[in-house]
């Protein structure tokens, strides 16, 4: 009998384990549900389910399989949940309900929810200058006297550009308290508040600090008390090191992050020995980076908790707010495309236009993870997804659930191509500071060649390429107080640069001067060796000027490397060294320039040499002008 019992138990266990080994998915059979895209849910289910089952099985398929998870819901009804791949590809730990992922910028929505809760309680005025709520010893270095309101921060219109130094710590012990971190990494205010849209992590975290100041409690504590506990989100951490939830911290330590890379592998086939071939595979990357300004990006949770959070916004019981009106206001437009009533932002939530619905939500990206939350408050449909390999986030599933935006929705056959000319840059950049010149190199694009933007009236534009799909993108046009044009797309804006050609010519001349200085020094060395060049004080000063030019160009190149190679450990002391070097180079170039000019006007200088001194003076002038106008010396952030 005992033997039989053992056998039955063993069989039950085996069945149980085999089910655990199968890919996890849950699906509610809902026959007659129609998605906001207009497609029957059953059809969408077949597509999504088939999509994730249809793995490529060829011999060069990536060996590692990083995970992603997603859920489609309607109201409190889960339509489909799936987990795919591994959270640790080396140890083959599969993704499941216990896995946690970082939310990235979806975390910001918790700041905006907190702000609306305080607004509902009458403790926060969305149109009041935030300095009113900040402590006296919190110094904001602002370029404009205009007030910065909570609504400005929600719309990413506080005027802040990117921070010069990454507000991140590599060691837990280095994490600063929120107030201190905000002051340490404060960016420059490059734009007038309320005028230019410039996505800002720092601005969102400043809003989080305002919550701290008003509520009198730590931001993470406030969120736990007022968002996580009411919703029953037990597997969510908010703080920078995720230690405010022991379970999340434990699961987060198991999580590994991956990025796709092209690799050479050997072809072993005897018949096809063509040597090595390039294949795509995933590589594990460093994950343990902590956001000092944590409210903007540090929330980490299970998929279920993100679903619970998303469902709260389509819940008629408005569990996060006392009144339904507050929830409605949160999800209503706060910033609009041109002069229309089409929202580009809804109190900090991204707003997407589809053919049949208007959805809100947020996307998120960290060093390790990526996530997306899309909700339609009317149909109560929602889609959330998370991954530990940012490039693998299945964002395209929104097309099936919510549809697309056809050009005909807002435009018609009579829409005319809008001739936008000039050079533009994305406002989310280092518009002020030592990295400013890189904006002119890599982040600027010419609009002259773009023939796919159509004017729809009321400063509303849409872009689509008739030859490449039917998905349109909306833009709002505006003219800023300085006369420059802006094209707003949700949280980002393309901002016109005045005098771009002159500035890029100056930058070209700067780099050329650096290279020419190398040849001048080589020539001088050769002539000195041949005894054709006599040493003098003036000659030494001019040589110092050439060396300064080379060092200055090398410093600029090192800054390009910091940006292109995403060197996150670029510290303030490194920036200070480069900034000081640039200041010394400016001083040396000024002295060399003055010496060259004095030699031109000296009676002892012969005519042919006057030309060379003139050449040297122009070179020094170019270096000084470039270094000053592009603020290459400006190592301080704000």
């Amino acid at each position: 009998m005992k033997q039989w019992l053992y056998k039955i138990t063993a069989i039950c266990c085996a069945i149980g384990f085999s089910f655990c080994g199968l890919p996890l998915h849950a699906h509610a059979e809902v026959e007659d549900v129609i998605c906001p895209s207009g497609v029957a849910w059953k059809t969408v289910y077949d597509i999504l389910h088939h999509n994730w089952e249809n793995d490529d099985d060829n011999e060069y398929h990536p060996k590692k399989d990083p995970s992603y998870a997603f859920t489609v819901f309607q109201g409190d009804h889960i339509l489909l949940t799936e987990f795919h791949g591994d959270i640790d590809c080396e140890d083959h730990i599969p993704a499941d309900e216990t896995s946690v992922y970082e939310w990235g910028s979806i975390s910001k929505t918790m700041v905006w929810v907190s702000a609306m809760q305080l607004w509902e309680q009458g403790k926060l005025d969305l149109d009041e200058d935030i300095r009113h709520y900040l402590p006296d010893d919190f110094s904001l270095h602002l370029s404009y006297d205009d007030p910065i309101t909570m609504l400005n921060l929600m719309n990413h219109e506080g005027g802040f550009c990117e921070t010069t130094y990454k507000p991140e710590s590599w060691e837990e012990s280095e994490i600063l308290p929120l107030g201190e971190a905000l002051q340490k990494f404060q960016p420059a205010q490059a734009y007038r508040p309320g005028e230019v849209t410039s996505y800002s992590n720092w601005g969102a975290s400043l809003a989080g600090y305002v919550i701290e100041c008003i509520s009198g409690m730590d931001y993470a504590e406030y969120v736990h008390q007022n968002i996580l506990t009411p919703l029953g989100m037990e597997h969510t951490a908010v703080s920078a090191n995720h230690r405010d939830n022991a379970y999340v911290r434990e699961q987060w330590e198991k999580l590994k992050s991956y990025e796709g890379k092209l690799k050479f592998i050997s072809r072993d086939s005897e018949n096809e020995n063509f040597g090595d071939i390039l294949v795509f595979d995933y590589e594990c990357k460093e994950k343990d980076i902590y956001f000092d300004i944590y409210p903007c990006a540090s929330v980490t949770s299970t998929l279920q908790d993100l679903v619970t959070y998303a469902q709260a916004f389509v819940n008629d019981d408005h569990p996060l707010f006392e009144k339904q009106e507050t929830q409605d206001k949160l999800l209503s437009g706060s910033s609009f495309y041109g002069e229309t009533e089409i929202p580009s932002c809804s109190h900090g939530f991204e707003t997407w236009e589809f053919d049949h619905v208007r959805a809100v939500g947020h996307s998120g990206l960290t060093h390790s993870c990526s996530a997306l939350m899309v909700i339609d408050p009317v149909s109560k449909f929602g889609y959330v997804t998370m991954t530990n390999c940012p490039e693998n986030l299945p964002t395209w599933y929104t097309d099936y659930v919510f549809g697309k935006l056809s050009p005909e929705t807002y435009g018609d056959q009579n829409s005319t191509t809008y001739p936008i000319n000039g050079y533009y840059f994305d406002t989310r950049t280092n518009a002020i500071g030592m990295f400013q010149f890189i904006m002119y190199l890599g982040s600027t694009y010419c609009m002259d060649d773009i023939k796919t933007i159509y004017s729809l009236g009321n400063d509303l534009y849409q872009q689509y390429d008739p030859h490449q799909g039917r998905n349109a993108t909306l833009y709002g046009g505006k003219i800023h107080s300085d006369g420059s044009r802006g094209l707003k797309d949700g949280f980002s804006e393309a901002h016109e640069i005045k005098g771009y050609v002159f500035k890029i010519s100056l930058l070209t001349a700067f780099f050329l001067c650096g290279f020419i200085a190398v040849f001048i020094l080589m020539i001088k060395h050769k002539m000195k060796k041949a005894g054709k060049l006599e040493s003098s004080v003036n000659s030494t000063i001019l040589t110092a000027g050439q060396i300064a030019k080379i060092i200055s160009v090398l410093s600029a190149v090192s800054l390009i490397m910091v940006i292109t190679q995403r060197i996150h450990r670029f510290t303030k002391s490194m920036g200070m060294i480069i900034g000081m070097i640039q200041i010394i180079c400016i001083i040396v170039c000024v002295i060399a320039g003055i010496t060259s000019i004095s030699m031109i006007f000296s009676k002892n200088t012969d005519k042919s040499k006057k030309f060379l001194y003139g050449f040297s003076a122009v070179g020094n002038l170019i270096m000084i002008m470039t270094e000053i106008s592009f603020q290459m010396y400006r190592f301080w952030g704000c």
Binding site: F264, D276, I438, Y440, L441, G442, T444, V501, I504, L507, T508, F511, L512, F515, I516, V518, F519, M522, I523, K526, M527, A530, K532, V557, I560, M561, I563, T564, Q565
Partner: protein, 258 residues
């Protein structure tokens, strides 16, 4: 300056001398490159600049080599510095002229778009490759960067061979047509060898990182104004090296026993 211009005239006479072999080789290479450029691959025309650079010194000194007239410069009422400057000035102007001409032809070839129908759209292939490699450069920026890079290499080759001429002089063995042809073949074989070695090196992580670093730097410099910044830097380096070789040649030729 007048003396230098007179010397340039002497060089031009020598240039249009009887020995037409190198000139014919040069013109043939030029025509083939232009035809390939128009009908198959526009950027192939840049090879003309490279060929011109390799043959320039031979073209200029072939007559001198044949008639052994190098010693005539010893008795000319001029200084050695002017002789060097005249030759460098002439070759630099000729190289610049040829490069400009080829560049204009390349632009015309791209504009008339005949090559597209013959090759099935190399532009499209290049654009696809750029997208796959996540390079945010326009096709024109890539063309300009490649062309100016070849110009830079050509100027370095040209000025280097001219410097060797002034340092060592010419003999039947040096700078001869056969020798130049062998050199070109060796260069091509060298490129193949380097490519093979690089292909092996690319698999080493450190080399990969360095290459990524260099390419990302070049990419960011090639982005503004269709590659103008990077092109100017390459062109600047080309002229800079020529200037350096000119000064070295002046000094070395001055010390040389003729």
């Amino acid at each position: 300056m007048k003396r230098i211009l007179d010397l340039i005239r002497v060089d031009l006479i020598s240039f249009s001398g009887k020995k037409k072999g190198i000139l014919i080789a040069f013109v043939t290479a030029l025509m083939i490159s232009i035809l390939i450029g128009i009908f198959i691959l526009p950027e192939f025309m840049a090879v003309c600049v490279l060929v011109a650079a390799c043959l320039m010194t031979s073209l200029l000194t072939s007559q001198e080599n044949q008639l052994n007239t190098a010693k005539i410069f010893c008795i000319l009422p001029t200084d050695r510095k002017s002789i060097v400057l005249a030759k460098y000035l002439l070759t630099t102007v000729m190289m610049t002229g040829i490069s400009l001409l080829i560049y204009i032809l390349m632009e015309i070839a791209m504009e008339i778009d005949i090559y597209d129908s013959f090759t099935g759209g190399i532009d499209t292939a290049l654009t696809t490759a750029e997208k796959q490699a996540d390079i945010s450069l326009s096709v024109i920026a890539v063309y300009n960067a490649i062309y100016s890079f070849i110009f830079m290499i050509s100027m370095i080759i040209m000025s280097g061979s001219l410097r060797r001429y002034f340092k060592n002089g010419i003999s039947d063995k040096k700078n001869s047509l056969i020798r130049t042809t062998v050199k070109i073949i060796l260069i091509i074989l060298g490129i193949v060898l380097i490519e093979t070695v690089l292909f092996q090196l690319v698999q080493i992580q450190l080399v990969q990182s360095i290459l990524i670093l260099i390419f990302s730097l070049l990419e960011i410099l090639a982005q503004p104004l269709q590659g103008l910044l990077l092109s100017m830097i390459f062109i600047g380096i080309g002229y800079g090296m020529t200037a350096y070789h000119t000064v070295c040649s002046v000094l070395e030729y001055d010390e040389r026993e003729l």
